[in-house]
C-alpha cells in the first residue's frame, strides 16, 4: 500500500511531507495561479505538513501546519497538494 495521498484525502492527525504541488484537474489558468499561491504560502515540495483540524460540515475546511505556521484552506484547494504520509 502506497502512502502517497492528496492532502485533500488526509484526516486529522495525518502528517508527512509535501511531494508535489500542482498537477491537478483545475482549469488551466486557475491551476497555474493556484499553484503559485500555494507556493507563496509555504506549500513547497519538502515542506512538513500536519492536518490539525477539520470543519464540521463535510470535514471542510481544514487547518494545516506547514513547517512552523498554520494555514486554513478548503479541501478543494488541498487537492492540488500531494503528500507522503509518515508511517504511524
Amino acid at each position: 500500500m502506497t502512502d502517497i495521498i492528496k492532502l485533500s484525502q488526509a484526516r486529522r492527525g495525518d502528517r508527512g511531507v509535501i511531494v508535489e504541488v500542482g498537477g491537478h484537474t483545475h482549469h488551466q489558468a486557475n491551476g497555474v495561479e493556484l499553484e503559485r499561491r500555494l507556493l507563496e504560502l509555504g506549500f513547497v515540495e519538502g515542506a512538513r505538513v500536519e492536518l490539525l483540524h477539520e470543519g464540521l460540515f463535510g470535514r471542510d475546511p481544514i487547518a494545516i501546519r506547514v513547517d512552523d505556521m498554520r494555514v486554513a484552506l478548503r479541501r478543494h484547494e488541498a487537492a492540488s497538494l500531494t503528500m507522503k504520509r509518515d508511517l504511524a
Binding site: R36, L39, E40, E45, L56, F57, P61, D68, H76
Partner: protein, 622 residues
Amino acid sequence: MDIALKTARIALVGNPNSGKTALFNALTGAHQKVANYAGVTVERKEGVVRAAAGRSMSVLDLPGTYSLRARSPDEEVTRDAVLGRLAGETPPDVVVCVADATNLRLVLRLILELKAVGRPMVLALNMYDIAQRQGLRIDLDGLRAELGVPIVTTVATRRRGVDDLIAAIETQAEMAALSDSRWRSPDAAELRAAAREAERIMKAHVRPPERPDTLTGKIDAVLLHPVAGLAILLALLFVMFQAVFSWAAPLMDGIEGGIGWLGGLVAAVLPDGLLQSLIVDGIISGVGSVLVFLPQILILFLFIIALEDFGYMARAAFLMDKIMGGAGLHGRAFIPLLSSFACAIPGVMAARVIDSKRDRLTTILVAPLMTCSARIPVYTLIIAAFIPNETVWGFANLQGLVMFGLYAAGIVSALLVSLVIRKVFWRGAVEPFMMELPTYKVPDLKSVAFNLWLRAKIFLNRAGRIILPAVTILWVLATFPYPPENATLPAIDYSFAGMIGRALEPIFAPIGFNWQMVIALIPGMAAREVAVAALGTTYAIADAENATGLLASTLAAQWSLATALSFLAWYIFAPQCVATLGVVRRETNSLKWTWIMIGYMFGLAYLASFVTYHVARALGGG
C-alpha cells in the same frame, strides 16, 4: 549631502500580520488599526518621522503581502508603491521589510523578491520579544552577511528598537547605491527555486525555538473543535449582545439622568423663548438621546477589539467558512462582514483582500446589511420602549434576545442576498480560501483601553459634526413658521417639518409610519443614529409642556407595537448612511452598482416593514 537633506521616503513592506502598522504607529505616533489577523491594512497610509538632527522622513504603511505578484486590490497597492508605479511617484528611497521573527521562512522568500527591485533595504526583525521568549536563536551577523542588508531587531508594540531602525534607515538612505529594478513576476519554477534558497538560509542561520509555542495548539484544540468550536462561537455572539444590553444599563441610566439634569438646569436659567427651545428641545433632547448609547457601543467594541487582538477572527472565519461558501460568498468575505458589525465603511474597505472582482462586489453589496454599531441606538430605543425587560428560559434577557434576533436577521439576510446574487447574476467557479491562522496573543490592556477611548472620541465627534447640525436644522424646520392664531393642533403640525412629514406620510402609511417618523428618516439618511436624535427633537418640540425627556416612554405612549416593529424591520435593511454609500461608490468605482445597492436595500426595507406591520396588526399588535 543632497540626498540627506531631501526628506527620504520609506515604505514598510512585509507578510501580513508581521507588525508593519504597529511599527508605523511607533515611528510616526499615528493610531492606525493594529489587530491580530492577516489583512488589517488595506490601503496606504503616510506619516512623518522626526529623525535625529531635526530631519524628517516620510513613511508609508502598506497592506501585507506574500509576494509582489499582486492578485487582490490590497496587494496591488503594495506592489504599486514598491515599484513606484503610481503616477507622479518614484519608488521609495528605502524599503523597510518588516518580518515576524518567529515566522521567517516566507518573508525570506519575499526579501529575495524585494532585492530584485533594487532599492536600499533594511530588515526589521519584529516581534523579537516573542522570539526571545521562545528561545529562538537567530544568527544576526550571518543573516546580515548572507542577505546583504542591515538588520535591526524591534518590538513594535513596546517601541523597542525604533531609534536603531531610524538610524539604519538614514544610513541606507545616504550610503546605499540604487540599481534598476530587475523585478518581474516569478513563475512557479522561480518560486520553487526561491523557496529552496530561503529554506537554505533558514537552516544556516536560524535554530528552531527551544520553547516553541504550544499554547496556540492547545487553544485551537478547543476553539476549532468541529462541534465545540461552533458552539463557543455562537455562545460568544450571544453573550456579546446580551452584554451590550445588560452591562450598559446602569451607565446609560447615569448619562440619561445627567442629560435630564442639564436640560432642567438650562430651562431654569434661560428665559422661555426661542433660545431656550433651541437648546433644550433641539440640542439637548436631540444630541442627548444619542449620547446615551455611548456605553453600549463601547461594550460592543470591547468585545470586537479583544477578539481581534487575541487572534480569534481567523478562527471564526474558519468555523463559518462552510456556511459562507454555501451562500456563495468568498472564503475571505468573513472578516469584511464581521468588521461591518462595527461600521460598514471599514467592512466595505476590507473587501479589498478578495481577489475575484465579482466576489468582492458581492461582499460589498451585502456588507451594509450587517448590523453596524450606528443601528444600536435605533434598536435599543425601540426595544427599551416596547419589549418588556424580563427573563426568559431562566437565563436570557428578553430584550437582549430581541437584539440578538435583529443581529441574526442582518446576518441571514446578507447570506440570502449573496446567494441570490450568486444564483441569478453570476455562477462562477468557487474561489479558493487560504488564510493564515495567527498565533494567539494576550490582548494588551493598555492598548485595548486606548482603542476604546479612540472609539469614544469618534462617537462624540460624530455627535458634534453630524448630529448637532442635523438637529439644529430640524429644530428650525419644526419651529417655523409659527401656527396661525386659531390653531387647534400642536404648533409643530403647522411647521415646515410638519408639512414635509404630512406630504410624505401617504408613502409610509402602508408600513405604519407616522409623520414624525417620516421626518426623522430624512436627516436619518446622514447616519442611522441621527434618526434617534431627530425623533428626540421632534417629540420634544411637539410636546414641550410635559416632555419627560425620556424619548422611550414618549414613544411607548405614542406608537403601536406594530409600528415599532415595522420601524425595526426598516432599519435592518434601509441604507440610511450617506458615508457608506460614498465608500461603496469609491470602492466599486461604479455609480450603477451603488444605485443597485440603494434600490435593493430600500426595496427590502419597505417590503420587510410592510409584512411586519401587517402581520403584527393581524396578531393584535395594532
